[in-house]
């Protein structure tokens, strides 16, 4: 269990986390036996409605951190947080906020939704986003494009805090967890270049925006690739 707990949050040197880590078969068994079980998807609303573990609630990690009252008032309610990364970064952050607020039955799904999928368990779709052909560009190509094209609008989908800590000059911040509410403010006459942390989340966000009429490309490897490029130079 200790190994599971450490692996789940990707911090092997630290002490065991103050929540329980459960694997996919255990969660499935819990879902069958406990009708009050609260399974929480900590990705953005767009991602959560597109695909989630059946019966999950959509509550983005950032929103739980901002407003803990989104969680039910019963502090002894059994709840399981998960996200879409095997490293469980977002689910651990949300679980941490819940524990801090006094919730006693907090769990994190080990290796998140990837583990659930790899176990062959069913998924649920509420509003499926048609996958588009969203081209990706490497950091060096983007830099060249930025110098040559004036119609590009860089849209940084990371959290407000990550954006404040550093962003590409000229990029506007539209955090992915709020994108379904904020996208309408983005001008339609520009080609959007979507940026995220590591390049994993821009595809679905791009498909969503394409569905809404935008022309979109995305940065391959996200801001990590951009920073590696600038560091190398």
């Amino acid at each position: 269990m200790l190994t599971l707990a450490l692996a789940a949050c990707g911090k092997p040197a630290e002490a065991p986390p103050p929540w329980k880590v459960i694997d996919a078969p255990t969660l499935r068994a819990l879902m069958a036996s406990d009708k009050d079980l609260l399974v929480i998807n900590t990705m953005s609303e767009i991602e959560c409605l597109d695909h989630r573990i059946p019966g999950s609630q959509c509550m983005a990690c950032e929103e739980i951190e901002k407003d803990i009252t989104l969680l039910p008032p019963d502090k002894n309610r059994v709840m399981v947080f998960y996200c879409e990364s095997a490293g469980c970064y977002r689910s651990c952050r949300a679980a941490g906020a819940a524990v801090k607020a006094g919730y006693t039955q907090v769990h994190v799904l080990d290796r998140g939704m990837p583990a659930w999928k790899q176990a062959g368990y069913a998924m649920e779709t509420v509003e499926r986003i048609p996958r588009g052909s969203i081209p990706s560009v490497r950091a060096s190509a983007l830099k060249q494009m930025m110098a040559e094209r004036k119609d590009l609008l860089l849209v940084d989908l990371r959290s407000e805090q990550s954006y404040r800590e550093g962003h590409i000059e000229g990029a506007v911040n539209k955090p992915l967890y709020r994108l379904s509410r904020d996208y309408a403010a983005i001008p339609l006459d520009r080609t959007l270049v979507l940026l995220d942390d590591r390049g994993f989340r821009t595809f679905l966000a791009g498909s969503y925006l394409e569905m809404k009429g935008y022309q979109v490309i995305r940065l391959f490897g996200g801001m990590q690739a951009w920073q590696e490029m600038t560091a190398a130079k």
């Binding site: 990837p114 999928k117 490497r138």
Partner: protein, 619 residues
């Protein structure tokens, strides 16, 4: 029991069965007609009927509609399409597909024209795959590469995206993820090897199929074969992932102008001459690698010449001793050393404690070097991979290899110091050093050794008596000096290879190729020499079989001294030194420890010989 007409009990199930078969056969068609009543676009009415899935009805894929009225009213929706009902194998593979795991891609996200998809005989599948993948993935690097260009020109051998990444089994190896660097390197290196070692495919494309074998002959290739996590370069580390171009192309990662940056991604602190190291050297190519070729010939000649001479010597010796043993046994003659009594039983020292300890250290370090080095030499064999697993991986094995090498280097330095002390005893200056060098107590060869060698061969062929030896025989001197040569060859090359980047400040990179060859071949010579020739000369000769414990206990009988080294005995008596060399009989614990360690070493050596010879001949 027969089913007869009029038997309602038997007729009912038969009727139901017939109805069920009829329903299953006809329902899809019937359902399709009903579906097209509303879904009447040309795609469903025309294109679908021409598609590869035309034999299926709508409800074959769109299951879960129980009431058409409810469905029409929007109250009942079909269940998600599960292509895995028919495409079971692909569905199973797809569970681990990166696109499913990370982006939740479903079948129709790539196979968008699923209702109109047709068989297209003669279609360039590779081109279609590239077109599909590059709808989302940037293609600038790949299309500029040799693979991409070849496919665009109609080559069906060149790698498309799926040849390396898999089609429905695309792995969760992503450059941004950084969670699977070891697995990714292993996975993609195997993918490259699969095609580039295919002799028929390579010949068809005017490429060498030996590049993989040459790579596997290098340190990079051998550690890769043993299994990571030791960080060594796989194919993609040098040739990059997509921008794979010939080295003449300035955009290529292996173009001379780009090599420093390319090698510098793993190696640091090297001199620019480090870049002349050859990653795929062919030792047998005289034109391209003359120095390597010459080294290969020299080391091969040294190996074959040394082993051939001494194995011949050993066989003749064994025959002579065995036949002699047989004759004496037949005639009831017992060697004096066996039936020694009285003074003959007196133990005499041959090896002092410090030399015995040094030999034990030599044995331990040598076995460690063999057990860590030879698995690397024969990295492709099962036994090598098992041994490396027992060490805890190639990295730990490498640490033990270097530790044992240090022990050996310190030991050799001490022997060199002792040799100097022997040649120049305190207070004598340089006086008499040549006499001591060529004298009977020296391990340096002299004229008598040549005479003894001739004498032994005469004796082997029953043409004379066995020569009388002094303190050291010529084969013992060879053993001793061979270690010095071995240390020069293996130790020198090993030190260069220990930290190749630093070595490049002394020698160019191509010398490291030579060092690797010398290190490997000299190690083979050393191991085979010790495990066959030294073992036989010292332990397996019939009158000492199965082992001579002398090197561990340090003493033997006076009668044995007289029999084996008569000239030394005569000198010791004449010089009055014999009394000072008499010792107590070795204790039981010492004898037991000596026998256990000695026999264990001999058995391990023989076992390793079998593995080495098997690998040499068959692997």
């Amino acid at each position: 029991m027969k089913i007869t007409a009029g038997n309602g009990l038997y007729g009912l199930p038969a009727g139901l069965l017939l109805f069920a078969v009829f329903a299953v056969l006809c329902l899809p068609a019937a359902a399709a007609q009903e579906c097209r009543f509303c879904h009447d676009e040309p795609l469903y009415r025309v294109d679908f009927n021409r598609s590869i899935h035309a034999g299926n009805g709508c409800t074959s894929c769109h299951t879960g509609i129980t009431d058409i009225e409810k469905h029409r009213d929007g109250k009942e929706k079909p269940a998600p399409v599960n292509c895995g009902i028919c495409h079971e194998k692909i569905a199973k593979e797809y569970l681990n597909n990166f696109h499913y795991i990370q982006e939740d891609f479903r079948c129709s996200d790539c196979h968008r024209n699923i209702h109109a998809i047709q068989k297209e005989p003669g279609k360039n599948i590779k081109l279609a795959i590239i077109e599909k993948c590059t709808e989302c993935h940037g293609n600038a690097d790949y299309t500029a590469s040799g693979h991409g260009e070849a496919i665009l020109k109609g080559n069906h051998d060149a790698a498309d995206c799926s040849d390396c990444h898999g089609l429905h089994s695309t792995q969760v190896f992503h450059t941004s993820l950084e969670q699977y660097p070891t697995e990714a390197r292993e996975f993609y290196t195997q993918k490259c090897k699969r095609c580039h070692a295919d002799s028929v495919m390579m010949a068809r494309n005017n490429l060498s199929d030996r590049m993989v074998a040459y790579y596997e002959g290098t340190y990079h290739g051998k550690v890769q074969e043993l299994g990571y996590p030791a960080p060594v370069a796989g194919c993609g580390d040098c040739h990059t992932k997509h921008n794979i171009l010939p080295k003449e192309d300035p955009r290529s990662s292996i173009h001379p102008a780009n090599l420093e940056a390319n090698c510098g991604r793993c190696h640091s602190g090297f001199h620019p001459r480090f870049l002349s190291y050859q990653s795929h050297p062919d030792y047998t190519d005289r034109q391209k690698y003359p120095a390597l070729y010459a080294t290969f010939l020299f080391m091969g000649g040294l190996l074959v010449g040394t082993l051939a001479f001494f194995w011949f010597h050993t066989i003749l010796w064994w025959r002579k001793v065995y036949w002699e043993h047989h004759r004496m046994e037949k005639e009831g003659i017992v060697p004096p050393s066996v039936v020694a009594t009285g003074e003959g039983l007196q133990q005499v020292e041959r090896f002092s404690v410090k030399y015995r300890i040094m030999h034990v250290l030599l044995v331990l370090s040598f076995f460690t070097l063999v057990l860590t080095g030879f698995p690397l030499k024969y990295a492709g064999t099962e036994w090598a991979q098992t041994v490396i697993r027992l060490w805890g991986g190639a990295h730990i094995s490498g640490l033990f290899h270097r530790g044992a090498a240090l022990v050996l280097i310190v030991g050799m330095a001490y022997v060199a110091w002792e040799s100097l002390k022997f040649l120049f005893p305190r207070g004598t200056g340089k006086q008499g050093w040549l006499g001591r060098l060529l004298g009977p107590d020296s391990l340096f060869p002299n004229l008598k050794d040549l005479q003894d060698l001739k004498g032994m061969f005469r004796w082997f062929f029953n043409r004379g008596e066995a020569p009388k030896f002094d303190r050291w025989t010529y084969w013992e001197k060879f053993d001793f000096l061979a270690v010095f040569w071995g240390m020069f060859a293996i130790g020198g090359s090993g030190i260069l290879l220990w930290k190749p980047e630093w070595s490049s400040w002394l020698v160019p990179g191509w010398v490291l190729n030579i060092a690797a060859l010398v290190h490997s071949e000299e190690a083979l010579l050393a191991a085979l020499f010790i495990f066959t020739i030294h073992f036989f000369n010292t332990h397996f000769i019939p009158n000492k079989f199965p082992m001579d414990r002398l090197i561990f206990t340090g003493t033997y009988r006076l009668e044995e001294l007289k029999e084996q080294r008569p000239l030394e005995y005569e000198r010791l008596v004449a010089e009055g030194r014999l009394e000072g060399m008499k010792r107590e009989h070795p204790s039981i614990p010492l004898k037991l420890i000596s026998a256990t360690f000695g026999l264990g070493s001999l058995l391990l050596g023989l076992f390793l010989t079998v593995l080495i010879l098997w690998s040499l001949l068959f692997a």
